[in-house]
């Protein structure tokens, strides 16, 4: 099929379904992901659609929710991707997990893959949208007061915490801004602290995702001690002292090297 034909088909599908995702486009149009992405970029430049992660929506779509969610320019930092990929490998197929809000959680969602058969509880709207592209996963979005910051659109507050109490997950993947062996795990956003702790409570295993630069930092809001969690996921460039700390405290630390 020629590029024009493909692009026309994409527009037809958009008009019919309001949104399309890259994975189904690749099978329907028998083209590679890279080709589809290039088509979407072209159509976006022509002003006919807006790209979202995992797909696209019509440009004239007035839905405010979708506009907010369709952030075209989120950073696809290679370290973030690497952490997302490593974290996704920690999951066993069919598990029930929780993914906390943030860029790392989003990277994890992006790397889940179509055959994971997982059920995912999350309080982040962007993560929810990303997961909608995968037919095999069940997604539970926690309702509550909506907050938006640079990295995420998430829910929190009393209603969200009460809702989480209904659930139990085997692993909770939570990100933090600071990991310090004395001060413990810390985040910058005070709104998020209570729901973060609730997510940890409902999980059998807590997996902390953090950028290598976060290790050693002390953020504003203290959550739990560094050794109170069951696993860490980051990249190989994290400092040596922390690798020794994990080894001494019997906590597996998963490092992505991107080889």
């Amino acid at each position: 099929m020629f590029a024009e034909q493909r692009q026309q088909k994409i527009m037809h599908m958009l008009e019919e379904y309001q949104q399309v995702d890259v994975s189904s486009l690749t099978s329907v149009l028998s083209a590679s992901e890279a080709t589809i992405r290039r088509d979407l970029e072209k159509l976006e430049r022509a002003g006919l659609l807006c790209r979202t992660h995992g797909g696209a929506i019509l440009a004239e779509n007035n839905s405010p929710v979708l506009q907010v969610i369709a952030q075209k320019d989120y950073p696809r930092d290679s370290e973030v991707e690497s952490i997302g990929k490593t974290a996704s490998r920690v999951i066993e197929p069919g598990e029930v997990i929780a993914i906390g809000s943030g860029l790392l959680g989003l990277a994890l969602a992006r790397n889940l893959g179509n055959d994971s058969h997982c059920t995912i509880v999350t309080n982040d709207a962007m993560i929810m949208t990303e997961l909608l592209g995968y037919g095999q996963t069940g997604v539970i979005m926690v309702g509550g007061l909506v907050h938006k910051n640079d990295d995420a659109v998430f829910t929190s507050g009393e209603p969200a915490i009460r809702m989480l109490e209904e659930f139990s997950v085997s692993k909770a993947f939570l990100s933090v801004d600071g990991v310090n062996t004395e001060a413990g795990l810390t985040i910058q956003n005070f709104e998020y602290a209570l729901i973060w702790k609730k997510l940890m409570e409902i999980a059998s295993e807590t997996v902390i995702m953090a950028m290598p630069g976060a290790f050693g930092k002390r953020g504003l809001v203290r959550l739990v001690p560094a050794k109170a969690v069951q696993r860490y996921v980051t990249t190989g460039s994290v400092n040596e002292e922390f690798k020794r700390y994990c080894y001494d405290h019997n906590i597996p630390i998963h490092l992505g090297f991107d080889l």
């Binding site: 190989g236 040596e240 020794r244 001494d248 019997n250 906590i251 490092l255 090297f257 080889l259």
Partner: protein
């Protein structure tokens, strides 16, 4: 009052401007076992090698029986009565077991100075007997497996009636069972007046047999204490010695189809009908004591040892691997215990990485230097080796870094099956964590690993399946729920 048989005072040493020892002082009394502990890379070996005369210190003094010694080399050290033994001390493969045991001081007739074979054989036999280890004295050392060579080294230690014995990590790669008799004999030696410096990672053993314990960190002595029950309990709190470690970053694996199958493999020296299988993306361990044949198996699969019977099947096709080059063509890689065996010490990182795949960086037989550098850079960057080290000879890098360069070399030549012999031995903790993660990540990408190791915890923590090898055959295979440290220990001693 015990006399101090040697004293190292305010020793400082730097390599290439990087300080390794900072004004460190340490003493040894007659008839005591002084254990030196600390992470790898902190300077323990360097300090001992200074005492043994291999390296001279930048600043500081060495006293023997209270007398200041002028600078000396390793041969003069032997004459002073200082014997230094490390895993690479007994190492001339083409000489016999007997010759290796007396490399530096073969017994001679007192008057004529002719080599005294009778005495040498008697002493060697006695030592081997004490260790309950049987091996013909005339056998070529190169035909023995790695663990057996270590036992020969231990036996050679027992042959030396020197004044001061320095044992540098001699217990690595041997299981508790094998070391039992050795430590008993070491105590006997001590009671005869030999003074011993014992550099070791085995904290449990240290508290069992040492009289004095010194901990070194960052090139300085952090503390030095007499061994006692109370001290042991205090330290346990601080260092949290754990035999069962849960810290292995093992990721759930999804092994694919079988990539390697070995059927009834025999060879002249050790293998007596080995059967094993390895799937794509699997990490399989081989646990075995000295003489089990695990080293021979590794070398045979890589074409270094000849096999005489049996089949090796790679992805469904039977193959004969008769050389390392052939093994490499079949995309098999091999990392021996002595890292140096896979690296060329005077070449830099970039050159070592592209060594096995020079075609990949050449254009019609001309080496493309830029491509070579960027290909190597891909791995060096990701593995965290600092830029200024890339063009330095690899012998200047730390063990952990050398291990990473070696891995990169095999990755760059598209290896699909990696055979590792004791991959994390003598590595510092941070490098170990890195290596475990790298193995896990590569396995996820479809590379299969066969790991020979004597570290039971490591095998239980990192492998999908573990074979227990004994007498040249696989005696047990453990996987899933049954793969625990307790079960492995049971298999080893049954």
């Amino acid at each position: 009052m015990q006399e101090q048989v040697c004293f190292l005072k305010n020793i400082s040493k730097s390599f290439h401007g990087i300080p390794v020892l900072r004004q460190i002082s340490i003493g040894l009394y007659r008839g005591e076992i002084h254990a030196i502990i600390g992470d790898n890379g902190v300077g323990k070996s360097t300090l001992m090698r200074i005492l043994a005369g291999f390296v001279s210190c930048d600043k500081g003094e060495v006293f023997l029986d209270g007398v200041l010694l002028p600078p000396y080399n390793q041969y003069q050290a032997v004459r002073h009565g200082i014997t230094y033994i490390a895993p690479d001390s007994v190492c001339v493969p083409d000489m016999t077991v007997l010759e290796n045991m007396f490399l530096e001081d073969y017994p001679r007739h007192p008057v004529s100075h002719i080599l005294d074979h009778q005495t040498a054989k008697e002493r060697a036999d006695a030592a081997l007997q004490l260790l309950r280890f049987q091996v013909p004295l005339g056998q070529r050392l190169g035909s023995l497996g790695t663990a057996e060579r270590k036992l020969v080294m231990l036996a050679s230690i027992l042959c030396h009636k020197s004044k001061i014995l320095i044992l540098d990590e001699v217990a690595l790669g041997l299981t508790e069972y094998e070391l039992e008799s050795f430590y008993k004999e070491l105590i006997a030696l001590k009671n005869q007046g030999v003074s011993i410096f014992l550099v070791t990672q085995d904290l449990k053993k240290v508290f069992e047999i040492a009289d004095q314990i010194t901990m070194i960190s960052g090139g300085a002595a952090v503390w030095s204490q007499r061994n006692s029950r109370a001290f042991f309990e205090d330290i346990c709190q601080k260092i949290s010695i754990e035999i069962e470690k849960n810290a292995f970053p093992k990721l759930p694996s999804r092994p694919g189809g079988e990539v390697l199958r070995v059927e009834e493999l025999y060879n002249a020296s050790a293998l007596r009908g080995v059967n094993l299988s390895l799937r794509k993306g699997e990490i399989v361990g081989v646990l075995g004591t000295a003489g089990s044949g695990r080293t021979s198996l590794a070398r045979s699969l890589f074409g270094l040892d000849r096999t005489c019977k049996g089949r090796v099947v790679l992805s469904g096709k039977a193959v004969r691997i008769r050389s390392a080059a052939e093994a490499k063509r079949h995309r098999i890689g091999f990392m021996e215990e002595l890292t140096s065996a896979g690296l060329v010490p005077h070449l830099n990182c970039v050159e070592n990485i592209t060594l096995a795949n020079v075609d990949g960086v050449s254009h019609v037989a001309l080496l493309d230097l830029k491509l070579e550098r960027s290909s190597a850079a891909y791995y060096l960057e990701r593995l965290g080796i600092e830029g200024y080290k890339w063009l330095r000879p690899v012998r200047e890098l730390s063990r952990g870094e050398q291990q990473k360069v070696l891995l990169s070399k095999w990755l760059f030549s598209n290896t699909r099956i990696m055979i590792l012999d004791e991959p994390t031995i003598a590595l510092d903790i941070a490098s170990r964590v890195d290596v475990y993660n790298i193995l896990s990540e590569l396995a996820g990408g479809g590379i299969s690993f066969l790991i020979m190791s004597s570290d039971i915890g490591e095998l239980a923590g990192m492998c999908d399946r573990v074979y227990v090898m004994r007498g040249g055959v696989m005696a047990h295979e453990l996987t899933g729920e049954a793969l625990t440290i307790k079960q492995l220990v049971k298999c080893l001693s049954s």
